[in-house]
């Protein structure tokens, strides 16, 4: 099934990797460079899932999740956090911020697709 | 040595140098333009007329008569520069006047007889007759590529 994804990451390489992993399986991928840009992009689109990095300039991943959950439009949109840290406290922090789940970088494309399908149905 | 490989007609551009008639394979000709003053190249051999501005590129020009060991081209307004391309390089050939374009069958041309002289470079690759006039068919590559070694 085709999903519309918003990927927020300040690393161009990471954005490209996500695109490369998802577009061949038919996903539509939008990207944003940081949290602020992400909220701007969200004004115009209605993605099925949002993927976000944590360490980003201007507005980090936690701030971005807050902003998404505070708004009405994307309150229930699944958000997956991309993190290099598999530490439990990182997961808990992401969850308490309102993240749906997490993907540990570097991600395996198959697992990424599975995770996206799992949270978005 | 066979002059032309294929048995298809060859188109030649004929032109005058003094009172003699010469020709070039039209495939090597890029354009023909009127005479403009060339900027002389310092200390160049006498047949190097200099360089002209051909729409923004610097084109070297050879005085073809002088190159062939004939009398230098008399300068008048009918002088033209035949721009030829050979091995990727563009060169201008200054001639007195362009006459015509003729199509010939390969068998209408014959190898030049060996006159035994080696004073002039071997630039005439064939001879032909048109309306009873002898036309010399020039080898562009010989004219252009051997210029440097002759100059040295």
């Amino acid at each position: 099934m085709s999903l519309e994804i918003l990927a927020v990451d300040d690393s161009r390489t990471m954005r490209d990797m996500i695109r490369l992993a998802l577009e061949p399986v038919g996903f539509t991928v939008h990207t944003a460079d940081d949290g602020v840009h992400g909220t701007e992009v969200l004004e115009d689109i209605d993605p099925d899932v949002i993927i976000t990095d944590i360490n980003m300039p201007r507005m980090d991943g936690f701030g971005f999740i807050d902003a998404v959950r505070d708004g009405n439009r994307h309150r229930t949109t699944p958000i997956l956090v991309l993190t290099t840290e598999a530490a439990p406290e990182m997961k808990m922090r992401a969850r308490s911020a309102g993240a749906t789940g997490w993907i540990v970088k570097p991600f395996d494309p198959t697992k990424l697709v599975k995770a996206l399908q799992m949270v978005a149905g | 040595m066979s002059v032309m490989d294929a048995a298809r007609p060859v188109e030649l551009l004929t032109f005058k140098l003094g009172d003699q008639e010469y020709s070039l394979d039209i495939m090597s000709v890029r354009e023909i333009r009127g005479w403009t003053r060339a900027t002389p190249m310092p200390l160049a051999p006498s047949f190097v007329r200099g360089v002209i501005n051909l729409r923004g590129t610097v084109l070297p020009v050879i005085d073809l008569a002088e190159r062939l060991g004939l009398q230098k081209c008399g300068q008048n307004s009918r002088n033209v520069i035949i721009v030829v391309k050979c091995h990727g390089h563009m060169t201008g050939l200054l001639v007195d006047a362009v006459s015509d374009i003729v199509a010939l069958q390969p068998d209408e041309m014959q190898d030049p007889p060996d006159t035994g002289t080696s004073d002039t470079p071997n630039v005439v690759k064939a001879l032909t007759l048109i309306d009873d006039r002898m036309i010399r068919v020039l080898d562009v590559a010989q004219i252009v590529t051997h210029a440097e070694s002759d100059a040295a």
Binding site: D16, E23, D44, V113 | -
Partner: protein, 695 residues
């Protein structure tokens, strides 16, 4: 879209990004060092290293991951205020940044890089962190690189176990589960992928409608799943909701897998299909890019830019021709046509500038390389030197920047090695122990000026003069002015170092620097004050496609002399020219005697004159301090000309470097002054003299 390997493209773009991140890293460290940063700076620094690590992991660059991980850990300690920023720590961070750039370069070029080289730095970084936190010292890397496999053909579900497990799952979500964007059907759909799923919903807790609280959760489910997978995989489906629900997974029965039939079981009524997607959506490019901001950087083949530069060159020439012919047609300067032409001229100039700017790059990357040179050089000679840069955003032609790296490296090394005194000497002279090297760039009247200065001891002129005399570079009785002595540094093979350190190798001196600068159409000057320091000033053209030239007339031919070698113009009189021998003349100026070359005769336009009185001469200073005077008929003006290559496969004229097209459409030749001199010498003229050999 194309046949190119997408992963290779991303890899290439990763390394481009690495360059940017390294630059941000350097900037951030610099700001921390100079206290010019703010609270965000350390985060920027951290993120730079962190992002490199992320990309490195994706490409399986294990060594890079290891190093960035340790580096990042140390930065994180600073970020979270567990480690204080000290000058010492910053030095370590700078060295780590330099090392990081080495690792990245070797990774990019796929060169082997011995991990042992990183070991000392790694242990230093580790030591910093373990100093502040005892328990974290032994933290191992939980971040292992996984080279990305983009082959989707492998279906992880197809692995067939021999056994079919029957699980009973009870699941009661809590309200918070929905706050995180998780949803029950998706979880069930994922379970259904694993085998045959039976779902029972328990609605017993559902209240009557008027008692129903909208945000509360009243439902629970009991599921039975027949699957070949293990319990752990089922648990992993609930990973995201762990703690947000009551969950119990228990294995009931195990049976033979074949009993279920070989078809993998798919969904029941409530699960949407999660089959791998068909090709249809293959993403609509317009749509997928519709809402995202365009990349701010466009990568363009340099050949296209060159083509554009050439075309604009044509335009400039064409415009000059047009204005010349309008003038000669006698059109009034106040006419509309002339006004229009003026506007056309302005636009042409603007276009030319803009096109040149495409090739332009800020000198920043170059300057950052120099800060590394300062660090490494000062460390190796045990001096404390800091680099202060200014004008990093000044933009210069890309080619110029590339070709400036070597000369600048050499100058910076010289400044640190020879310019800055030892700490003891500095203290004795009442200077701060730490020396300063300044590197600045600016635009000045259509050229780029790059200054390299130090606050060291200045040039030891006595020693320079003595060395020059010892080496026979100047006559033993020479009495030279200060600036002349300073300029001796540019003479070939000159070296002032009394003991040759490993940095300034024998025979490599400022003459090499000056040759490189000249090759770029630039000039270099030197200025030194005893005890206060030395400064070099390099003046460069903005681009290599145009040349500042002096347009002169020789025997009716127009020629262009590169302006950077013209030191002065002079009208010849009986008083300043002398005949040395028949046909050999010299011009006298402040510096001594220069051989006089009749340009027209050297180029074979006509025979040499017998009398030069009242003629005009250009005094040229060439490489290796060769001075020569060229006689010309007339000087027209100075102007920028577009350089046109000459096809020299046919004939190469001596003394001619290139050509340009003038406003009247005629071609003017651009002189190669050094070649003119060489050619004149071959004709038997007196060899040109070094300026300073005569008093």
């Amino acid at each position: 879209m194309t046949a190119s390997d997408p992963l290779a493209d991303i890899r290439a773009s990763f390394f481009v990004e690495c360059e940017e991140l390294l630059e941000a890293l350097q900037d951030g460290l610099y700001a921390l060092e100079h206290g010019t940063g703010d609270g965000e700076t350390i985060h920027v620094v951290f993120r730079a290293v962190h992002s490199i690590k992320g990309g490195a992991g994706a490409f399986g660059l294990e060594h890079l991951v290891q190093f960035t991980h340790q580096y990042e850990t140390a930065l994180d300690a600073v970020r979270s205020d567990r480690l204080a920023v000290t000058p010492d720590l910053l030095k370590l961070f700078f060295r780590a940044a330099d090392h990081l750039s080495d690792i990245i370069r070797s990774a990019r070029e796929e060169q082997p890089f011995a991990t042992s080289i990183s070991a000392p730095l790694l242990s230093e970084l580790t030591a910093r962190v373990s100093l502040e936190a005892n328990q974290e010292a032994a933290e191992d890397i939980d971040f292992a690189p996984i080279a990305v496999n983009l082959d989707f053909s492998e279906d992880p579900l197809s692995a067939k176990g021999a056994q079919l497990n029957h699980f009973q799952i009870s699941f009661t979500p809590e309200p918070e589960l929905f706050d995180t964007g998780n949803d029950v059907p998706h979880i069930f759909a994922a379970l259904a992928d694993l085998g045959e799923l039976d779902v029972q919903c328990d609605t017993s807790r559902l209240p009557t409608l008027h008692q129903l609280a909208p945000e509360a959760v009243y439902l629970s489910w009991s599921l039975s799943l027949a699957t070949v997978v293990e319990e752990a995989e089922i648990a992993s489906i609930f990973e995201f909701v762990e703690g947000l629900c009551e969950l119990d997974i228990s294995l009931r029965v195990t049976s033979d897998a074949n009993a279920l039939g070989s078809e993998p079981v798919t969904s029941d009524a409530m699960t949407p299909s999660t089959e791998p997607v068909d090709a249809e959506p293959q993403s609509n490019p317009q749509q997928s890019h519709r809402d995202t901001r365009q990349q701010t950087v466009v990568r363009v083949d340099i050949e296209r830019v060159e083509r554009l530069v050439n075309l604009v060159g044509e335009l400039v020439i064409n415009q000059a021709m047009l204005s010349q012919s309008m003038q000669s047609a006698g059109i009034s300067p106040h006419s509309e046509a002339m006004n229009g032409l003026e506007e056309f001229q302005r636009l042409t100039r603007d276009i030319q500038d803009s096109v040149m700017m495409i090739r332009a790059q800020p000198v920043k990357s170059l300057f950052q390389r120099m800060s590394r040179i300062v660090r490494e050089t000062s460390a190796s000679v045990s001096k404390d030197v800091r680099l202060i840069t200014d004008g990093e955003t000044t933009e210069v032609d890309k080619t110029v920047i590339e070709r400036l790296a070597d000369p600048l490296t050499h100058m910076i090394r010289n400044a640190v090695d020879h310019g800055i005194e030892t700490p003891a000497t500095r203290l004795a002279h009442g200077k701060p122990e730490q020396g300063e090297v300044r590197l600045s760039a600016s635009h000045r009247s259509g050229r780029v000026v790059i200054d390299v200065s130090d606050d060291g001891g200045g040039i030891d002129r006595d020693r320079v003069l003595r060395t020059a005399k010892d080496k026979g570079l100047v006559p033993p009785d020479a009495n030279l002015a200060d600036t002349e002595i300073d300029n001796l540094l540019f003479m070939p093979g000159f070296s002032t170092a009394s003991n040759l350190s490993d940095l300034s190798g024998r025979g490599v001196g400022m003459d090499v620097v000056r040759t490189a600068i000249h090759a770029l159409g630039g000039r270099i000057t030197i200025n030194s004050e005893p005890r206060q320091g030395t400064s070099f000033s390099i003046s460069l053209p903005l681009t290599l496609a145009v040349l500042d030239g002096m347009v002169v007339d020789v025997s009716g031919e127009t020629l262009v002399v590169p302006l950077n070698v013209v030191s002065e113009t002079l009208t010849l009189t009986e008083n300043n020219i002398e005949m040395v021998s028949p046909g050999h003349w010299v011009v006298r100026n402040r510096n001594g005697f220069l051989p006089l070359l009749d340009l027209s005769a050297v180029l074979g336009y006509r025979a040499e004159r017998a009398d030069f009185t009242d003629r005009i001469a250009l005094l040229l200073t060439l490489e290796d301090d060769v001075g020569v005077a060229l006689v010309v008929d007339e000087i027209h003006d100075q102007r920028q000309v577009v350089i046109k290559g000459l096809d020299d496969s046919f004939y190469r004229a001596p003394g001619i470097a290139a050509a340009t097209i003038l406003g009247d459409g005629q071609i003017a030749l651009i002189l190669d002054p050094a070649d003119i001199v060489a050619h004149a010498c071959s004709l038997g003229a007196h060899p040109p003299a070094h300026h300073r050999m005569e008093a």
